[in-house]
Amino acid sequence: MINNTSTTTYPDYWKKPPFIKRSWLRWTIIIGSILYLIAALLSMDINIQRVLEGIPRGQRFIESFFPPNFSDNRGVVWEGILESVWMAIISTVAGIALSIPIGLGAARNLAPLWIYMTCRFIIAASRTFPEIILAIFAVKLFGFGPFAGFIALSLGTIGFFAKLLAEDIENSSPAQAEAVKATGANWFQWINYAIQPQVMPRMIGLSVYRLDINFRESAVVGIVGGGGIGATLNTAFSRYEFDTAAAILFVIIAIVMVLEYASGHLRKWVQ
C-alpha cells in the first residue's frame, strides 16, 4: 500500500551552493566590485583614438620583430646576455651568503627576540621595494654598470631567500634538533647536522629558482643603468632595432625555460 502523503518530499532540483555562503557578504562584494570597476575605468581616461591608432602601429611593431636578428652588427646581444648570466650568478651567491645569517636570525626557534626583530625588519625592507627601485639607488651610489645591478639583485635576494629559509627552519622537526643537541653538539654542529639537512633540499631548489629570478630581473635593472642584457634591450628599443630586441627576448625566454627545466631535475636529484 502506497501512501503518498507520508513520504518525505525531496526537492526536484538541486542548485550549486554559492562560493561565499553569507548572502549579505556575497552581495556586498559583488556590488562593491562593480562600483569599483566603474570608478576605476572612469578614472583611467582611456584614449580610444590613441588605441585605435596604436593597432596598426602594433602590427608594424610585431612585424618588425621578425625575423629576430641574433647576429647584430655590434655584437652586443651575446655580450649583454653573458654579462647578465655572470651578474645573476654572482648576485645569487652573494645574496644567499647574506641571507643565511639573516635567515637563521629570523627563525623564532633559533634566535632571541631582538635578533629576530632586527632580521625580520631587514627582510621586510628588502621585500617591499622592487629590485628596480633598489637598482635606481645603486646606480646613483655606485655609478652605471653591472656592479650596481649586482648590489640591487643581491639585496633583493635577501628578502626572498632569508624569508623562506626562516620559515623552513621554523617548520623543521624539533625532535631531530633535540636529538643532535642531546649528543652534546655545539651550536655550529647543531645547525650543521640537525637543521641544515632538513632545510637543504628545499633551499637548493629555491636557489636555482632565485638564479632564474635574478636572471630575469637582470634584464630590467639595465633599463635604469644597472648593466646586463637590460641595457642592451633598452638601447635596442631606443634605436628602433626591434629585430635585435626580439632576439634578446627570445634568448631570455630560452634561458629561463632551460633554468626552469634544470631546477626541476636538480630538486628531484637532491631529494
Binding site: 584614449n47 611593431f61 654572482i90
Partner: protein
C-alpha cells in the same frame, strides 16, 4: 653515511672518502665559476665610484630628510592609478589564465598539442618582466595607465595559470567520476566536478598575485606606463630628494596595506 673502524674505535662519518672527494670537486667548480663571475663584473666596474659610494649615500640620505609631507597630498591620484593598474591587471590576467590553465593541465586539456601551446604561453608570459611588457606596450598603446594595466595583465597570466594548472592536476578524480556517473556532459563535469575543487586555489592565487602586482605597478611609471613610478622618476630626475623619500614612504604604506588585505582575504578563503 659510513662507519670506519680505526683500531678499536668506531668513527662515524657522513660520507665515504670517494663521496667526499666528489663533493669537494663540485665545490671547486662552483667556487671557480663564482670567482670568474666576480672577476668579469669587477673588470667592468669603475672602482673610484664604488669607493665614493658611502659619501654619496650620506649625501643623498641627508638630502632626503625630512620628507616633504605636503607632497603626499598630491600623490592620491597616482596611488589610486597604481592600485587600479594592479587590480584591473589581475582581473585581465585571471580571465585569460583560467582557460589557459585548463588547457595546460594534463587531465583537462582537450589535446596534447593545445597543452604545448598553453605551456608556451605560460613560459613566455613569465619570462618577460612587466617592465619590458610595459616598454613595448607604451610603443603600441601610448603612455598611460592602460599600457601599465595590460602589461601587468600579460605578465601575470603565466604566474596565475601555472599555479592553477598545477592544482587542477592534483584534484581528486573520484569526485569528477561521481559527477560523470550521473550522466553529466564534459562541460557539466567541469562545472560541478572540477571547478568547485579548484575555486579556492583560483581565488587565493588571484589575491596573491594582486599583492605582487601592487609592488610591480609602483615601478611601471619609469617607462611611462602610469602610476606612482611616474612621480618617482620625475622626482629623481629633478633631484627633488625630499619628494623621493615621501614617495618611498607612500609606496611602503601602500605595500603594507595591500599585504595586510591580501593576508586577511586569503585567511578568510582557505
Amino acid at each position: 653515511m659510513v662507519v670506519i673502524k680505526n683500531q678499536n674505535e668506531l668513527i662515524w662519518r657522513k660520507r665515504t672518502t670517494q663521496q667526499q672527494w666528489i663533493n669537494w670537486f663540485f665545490w671547486l667548480i662552483g667556487i671557480s665559476i663564482v670567482l670568474l663571475a666576480w672577476k668579469i663584473i669587477s673588470d667592468k666596474t669603475i672602482w673610484f665610484f664604488v669607493q665614493d659610494a658611502p659619501r654619496q649615500a650620506a649625501d643623498i640620505g641627508s638630502r632626503m630628510v625630512p620628507p616633504k609631507w605636503s607632497y603626499a597630498l598630491e600623490l592620491f591620484k597616482p596611488v589610486w592609478d597604481t592600485i587600479n593598474i594592479a587590480t584591473l591587471g589581475t582581473v585581465i590576467a585571471m580571465i585569460i589564465a583560467v582557460p589557459v590553465a585548463f588547457c595546460a593541465a594534463r587531465n583537462t586539456t582537450p589535446h596534447s598539442s593545445v597543452r604545448i601551446v598553453a605551456l608556451f604561453i605560460i613560459v613566455a608570459s613569465r619570462s618577460v618582466n612587466s617592465l619590458i611588457w610595459a616598454l613595448m606596450l607604451v610603443f603600441i598603446l601610448g603612455p598611460g595607465v592602460l599600457a601599465g594595466t595590460v602589461a601587468i595583465g600579460l605578465r601575470s597570466i603565466g604566474f596565475c595559470a601555472k599555479l592553477i594548472y598545477e592544482s587542477i592536476e592534483e584534484i581528486d578524480s573520484n569526485q569528477v567520476e561521481a559527477v560523470k556517473a550521473t550522466g553529466a556532459s564534459n562541460l557539466q563535469q567541469m562545472i560541478y566536478g572540477i571547478i568547485p575543487q579548484v575555486l579556492p586555489t583560483i581565488a587565493g592565487v588571484g589575491i596573491y598575485r594582486w599583492d605582487i602586482n601592487i609592488r610591480e605597478s609602483t615601478i611601471l611609471g619609469l617607462v611611462g606606463a602610469g602610476g606612482i613610478g611616474l612621480q618617482l622618476n620625475g622626482s629623481i630626475n629633478t633631484l627633488a630628494w625630499t619628494q623621493v623619500s615621501t614617495i618611498l614612504l607612500v609606496i611602503l604604506a601602500t605595500v603594507f596595506v595591500s599585504e595586510w588585505v591580501s593576508a586577511k582575504v586569503r585567511g578568510a578563503i582557505i
